[in-house]
């Protein structure tokens, strides 16, 4: 199909569209799509509901988005609250805010500032997570995995963390596997890797490493094995 003939979808204010193939999708305000959306660029500001899958070259959103399907895009930039029933698949995924996924997340480069819940596997070449709230993943796997606590939390977020534990920057994971792993503030059953750094605030039941393991004095590791 001739790409140039694809229509644009623009929603300003409130609007609803069926799914389909588009060149550009721009949503400002409150918008929803009833089916699968496929486009070159997807830009949304406001509150968006997609009752299907999104496939885009470039995907950008600010605000809140609920999706009943998956998101697949070359690059993903999301700020705010992203809630998907499916999975995220992308080359470069940058998320700021809170993300909830019922499926897996796969990306070559995955950057996250904020909190997240991934009920499946978080799989990335580079995974760089800065926690401002609670993080949760069943499994994390990749080449380079780094989890940090936010360096300078504002007074508000510190107060929230004190009142509601969901705002406490801490990661809960089942298994974390990678080549190069650096963790902070993480509770996990198993960590397996080549070079592993277990930083302050970690509670790991079992660590398996190949070449190097460093454990911070403020961290606890129950069992450690070298293979």
């Amino acid at each position: 199909m001739d790409e140039t003939k694809l229509p644009d979808l623009t929603i300003n204010g409130m609007g609803k569209a069926s799914g389909g193939n588009y060149r550009k999708v721009e949503i400002e305000g409150i918008g929803s799509a009833d089916g699968d959306v496929s486009c070159e660029t997807f830009r949304a500001n406001g509150v968006v509901t997609i009752k299907g899958n999104v496939r885009a070259g470039h995907f950008e959103m600010n605000g809140k988005m609920n999706g009943e399907g998956s998101l697949s895009a070359h690059s993903v930039v999301a700020e705010g609250h992203l809630n998907l029933r499916g999975r995220i698949h992308g080359d470069e995924v940058k998320l700021n805010g809170y993300v909830k996924l019922q499926g897996d997340c796969e990306a070559e480069r995955f950057y996250l500032n904020g909190g997240f819940t991934v009920e499946g596997l978080l799989n990335g070449g580079t995974i760089d997570i800065v926690l401002y709230g609670r993080g949760q993943a069943k499994e994390i796997g990749g080449e380079f995995i780094q989890v940090q606590k936010s360096r300078n939390p504002s007074g508000w977020s510190r107060m929230f963390a004190w009142i509601i534990s969901a705002f406490e920057p801490h990661l809960f994971a089942g298994t974390i596997e990678g080549d190069d792993i650096r963790l902070e503030e993480t509770t996990a059953d198993t960590v397996r890797g080549n070079r592993v750094y277990i930083g302050p605030g970690c509670k790991i039941a079992r660590v398996e490493y190949v070449s190097e393991l460093v454990v911070h004095p403020d961290a606890s590791v129950t069992e450690q094995f070298r293979s």
Binding site: E106, A107, E108, N123, G124, G125, G141, G142, E143, F144, G174, T175, E177, G178, D179, D180, D189, T190, R192, G193, N194, A205, R206, E208, S227
Partner: protein, 207 residues
Amino acid sequence: MERELISKKDLLELTGISYGQLYRWKRKQLIPEEWFIRKSTFTGQETFFPKELILSRIEKIIHMKDDLSLDELADKLSPLLYDIHLRKDELMKRNIVSKIVLERFGSRFVEEGAFSFGSLLFLFTADKLLQNGEMSMEEAGMLLQTLGEHFAKLQGKPCDLFFIRKMGVAAFALLVMPGELYFESGVKIVSRLSMMACIEELKNKLS
């Protein structure tokens, strides 16, 4: 049949690849999702793989990745999801395809002494119909020819195989699903098989 499994740790030790590589190949869909089998062990949840399948796949990836990029590799691997090659004696030993079929038709499909998944599927389907007693040996030959000529054109779309007979003359047809097919009244549908179901059945037998 009990399938032989290998744990992720043993696999990495055996093949010398790292966690990162394994995850990257998974991301690139070089290793199918179904091969990741989660099981509880005394050390917690662990991932296992069907040993034979994963070892041959990894060997293939390592062998080819110097010449091809991972994306190119993915294109090459994905259509034949199960790129294993089995020898004749192995097939007979594991009772995947009966001896009679192998001896009669095997020579058509052998490549370097082994069978690919595609040709195995054809033989397996023919064997199935023969075992039911619905098809004769001559007709099996026709079936194999039909599949060999046309199955690849469907590019893995779900399809059904129709085996029909009219006045004792047999014919075969492949129908892409979903689709509808009506016959004249003299035609008897001897058998209708979903090729997807056959693939699944064969996969289960192999792994």
